[in-house]
Amino acid sequence: MKKFFRRNAPAYVFLSPWFVGFFLLALGPILASMYLSFTRYDMVGDPRWVGLDNYEYMFERDRRFWKALEVTFTYVALAVPARLAMALGVAMLLDKGLRTIGLYRAIFYLPSLLGSSIAIAILWRQLFSVDGVVNQVLAKFGIEGAAWISDPNTSLYTLVILAMWQFGSPMLIFLAGLRGIPRDLYEAAEIDGTSKRRQFFRITLPLLAPVIFFNLVLQTIEAFKTFSSAFIISNGTGAPADSLLFYTVYLFNEAFKFFRMGYASALAWVLLLIIGFFTAVTFFTSKYWVHYENERD
């Protein structure tokens, strides 16, 4: 016992803030929200046990839940590949043949830092408003623009474009990955007369697979969590016609506008399971398409 104490004391002292935080702010709340998800709770009275009612309502009768899923999944499916493709494309442009890339790198990264701020969400609302910049530019080319943000058919795309605009951080990670690919592989391929296209598919992509995997997991989780910009652009409601009803926005409104804390907790648990599922799938399938260079060591 004494030995155990002497061996572990310093580490546990250093970890103590994290322990408190982990139990009080992570593990505890996760379990508590599981309990709350089986109750009706409006913060005035005590939580009342209702069994599976919340989940039953969610899956069988709540049309807005399904709409929120549809909006969020569509967004993830469009925004993540678009952002990663931009990031990889630009990283490859910057990687080879240019001596000074510092300034470009800084310019392309800046939106990633600013992107989730309220100021940018406010700006985006105006860029894509009916008389906003985008429509003015389109008018110059004789194209009549859409109502973008106030049109349910186009509103989600404005957020996808906002996500694309912030391709900076996966770009930096891709750049670091590209730097790790030995140059002589390309030189050898060049001598063999391999086309650039083939070089991309046979050298760049396979060797970059771990980095792509890493970015994919990170960006997917990130995309599921999107909140501030969707909240501001949709006036906090998911409008127009629920076309911007992101899952997080729906959850927020159920909890803090209507004070249906029990139901919102059920929504939170479903979100956790969805994200857990996607992360697990990416991890388990990764062994089929991600090969680490030093695997044999």
Binding site: W18, A26, T248
Partner: protein, 302 residues
């Protein structure tokens, strides 16, 4: 003899062909580089245009904002800034003070608590290390929305709603696992011999953390400080939930108030205050670009 002569001419010819190919390659490479620069410059303009537009619009007279694509204002309306500063029920002086308090305390909390945890994970041996590390990594994945409601109930019962405690205290409890991860990566690279030598000299783990690891980790600390500063500064969801009184609003919450008054043609002022809210982030980015870029490349942050 004869074969030798043909050999020579063949070799000459080959050399000449090789030379021409090389010249061609050089020319082509240069042309490719120019195209690349043209493309990248065009793209930079597109990427920065929204920000230029925001700044230009913050200086334009109201009727010019949506009527012309020209960025240059016909007259410079600096009063958008002075009037915008006082356009809301409380002046922006209050909001900036609030944001500054929350941000400074949060950054200190993040640096202290996360470096403590990271030091234990990276340098110390203890029972349950792998389990705790795995749990810590799993919290990276958990969306804030999942823990939001129970946390809110907890802080409400503690009487903390409408104070800064729910925003600041979690940061002193290493709740942002990202920074732990970042620092673990960095601490692991420091040579082990340092700890061992210090240990032999009779240094305690506390002393090693304070006198060896921390001073050697200033770049990692800097990266973490800058990121946590920017993220806390831009944080919207937590203040939205915990701060109800306009007196205690942070800058992002204040900006949102402009949206409720959008009809009353105060776009210029709204844009002016939006620009100001981005200034600290941009200044920090320019000043600490190297740290930020390196931090992302090594740890893979958002």
């Amino acid at each position: 003899m004869k074969t030798n002569v043909t050999d020579m001419t063949v070799r000459d010819k080959n050399a000449q062909i090789a030379h021409e190919i090389r010249l061609g390659q050089k020319k082509r490479a240069r042309r490719a580089r120019i195209y690349k620069h043209i493309f990248l410059i065009g793209m930079s303009i597109v990427m920065l245009y929204p920000l230029f537009w925001l700044f230009a619009s913050s200086l334009k007279p109201e009727n010019e904002i949506f009527s012309t694509l020209t960025l240059w204002p016909s007259e410079f309306n600096w009063n958008n800034y002075t009037e915008g500063w006082n356009a809301l029920p409380k002046s922006f002086t209050v909001f900036y003070m609030n944001s500054a308090i929350v941000t400074v305390l949060s950054v200190i909390g993040n640096l202290l608590s996360c470096s403590f945890a990271a030091y234990a994970f990276a340098r110390l041996q203890f029972n349950g290390k792998n389990l705790f590390f795995a749990l810590m990594m799993m919290t990276l994945m958990i969306p804030y929305h999942v823990v939001l409601i129970p946390q809110y109930v907890l802080f409400l019962n503690l009487g903390w709603v409408d104070t800064y405690l729910p925003l600041v205290v979690p940061r002193f409890l290493a709740s942002d696992a990202f920074f732990i991860f970042l620092m673990v990566q960095f601490f692991r690279q420091l040579p082990r011999e340092l700890d061992e030598a210090a240990m032999i000299d009779g240094c305690s783990p506390y002393k090693i953390y304070w006198a060896i690891i921390l001073p050697l980790s200033l770049p990692a600390m800097g990266t973490a400080a800058i990121f946590s500063l920017i993220w806390v500064w831009e944080d919207f969801l937590a203040p939205l939930i915990y701060l109800n009184d306009i007196k205690s609003y942070t800058v992002p919450l204040a900006l949102r108030l402009f949206l409720d008054q959008e009809g009353q043609s105060i776009f210029g002022q709204m844009f002016a205050m939006s620009v100001l809210s981005l200034v600290p982030v941009i200044v920090f980015f320019i000043a600490f670009q190297k740290l930020i870029v390196r931090g992302i490349a090594t740890s893979g942050m958002k």
